[in-house]
Symmetry: C2
């Protein structure tokens, strides 16, 4: 499993350089859910902090909702401490903030959590927020937006805001989920994966399976779909 | 089958209006291969010519290659005559023009035929070239370009050239293939379909099947993928 660690570490390194995700003196806030993806990201960034060409700071933040208790926060805290990462947990009453009569949905939940992340980063002087989205998440989002929204859009590895001096970075944009699963297994935190308590991610899981069929499991084809997002030929669209 | 005719006629009408494909006095050259798609297009445009709000001229052109004899040109000529469409056949030695040692391929064949179409249109004063590509062709091209070229690009319903006073129009851009098959059956020219003599379209047929799986046969989902090409959100691509 040594190989799995090297693969993910290398792909994160390529993404950090290719998309110029970290500059000297950056204060990076990594959002950790307790799931394998963001835990792997925190683990890797903790390692890179020691030798990366430019210095950067790192803190982990867990957004604790009022409905999820499955992500084993205590074991998460222990792991982060063992990697010498500062850790903070912030409570967000995602259900509590729902307007009367409104049902829980993905958009509401992610918006509440994202705005809390930004609020914390601004208050504490962090200029980068690192999220654990990987290549499969991004390709799924692209296909879902095409199929269900009729829109060509995905997730960018780096997102800038006009309103805030903050950038979202996705250092695992080039990692496939299967590679992260192997990485997590090698590091021994496979079992901490977190799923939606409302079962609202069924569409995403269905699309994941469909992409598997579409690409016949070919990583090359899936990576080409990913790369197509950087290669938009407007002369042949419209 | 009355319904099939109305459906295709209506979808062509919507496309002609939505994309402003025909202006008053346009001289439209419709490229007919002998296959169901372009035959259906010629048939429908011949009808529309009689009542369309603005006058336009129509001529059909068949690009005859040096390898294909399967498309029953004589029956094509009869059909076009019965619809009162001028018809011309132009020989293009697609194989004959291959450089020594080069193999036949889709790019070469389509480039040779396209340039002959443009050459003829310029010489004869046509300003629009109508092609029989339908919605499934366009969605397939988008997916194939994503999967095999790593590029977001498809086929536009209207293509302008900088170099020539000519536009390519695809009036069947909103028609699904199954609707054209029904239309052709109702009109009695189902059997004239033409396939690649070199069997080079196997990848396209494979992708057609995969799109069927991806969309679970839903026309709505397939049409959303089509519409996504007009709805490019560059803020979420890159």
């Amino acid at each position: 499993m040594k190989n799995a660690e090297t693969t993910v570490a290398k792909l994160i390194e390529v993404a950090l350089r290719r998309y110029e995700m970290i500059a000297s003196g950056d204060r990076v806030l990594v959002a950790v859910s307790g799931g394998k993806d963001s835990t792997a990201l925190a683990c890797d960034l903790a390692g890179k902090r020691k030798w990366w060409p430019v210095p950067f700071e790192l803190r982990a933040i867990h957004i604790a909702t009022d409905f999820c208790s499955c992500c084993k926060k205590s074991s998460l805290r222990e792991k982060l401490e063992s990697w010498e990462i500062d850790y903070v947990s912030v409570d967000v009453p995602v259900i509590g903030r729902l307007k009367p009569g409104k049902k829980m949905n993905c958009w509401w939940c992610s918006t509440q959590r994202r705005s809390e992340l930004i609020r914390y980063a601004l208050a504490e002087g962090f200029n980068k927020i690192a999220l654990g989205h990987h290549l499969d998440d991004i390709v799924e989002t692209l296909l879902m937006n095409m199929m269900y929204k009729g829109e060509l859009s995905g997730m960018k590895p780096v997102v800038s805001y006009d309103k805030y001096p903050i950038k979202i970075i996705r250092p695992m944009a080039l990692c496939e989920e299967r590679q992260i699963i192997d990485f997590a297994a090698a590091k021994g935190f496979r079992s901490a994966a977190c799923t939606c308590a409302f079962g609202l991610d069924s569409k995403r899981r269905e699309v994941r399976r469909k992409i598997q069929d579409l690409t016949e499991g070919s990583s090359l084809v899936k990576r080409r779909i990913f790369e197509s997002m950087r290669n938009v030929n407007l002369e042949y669209l419209g």
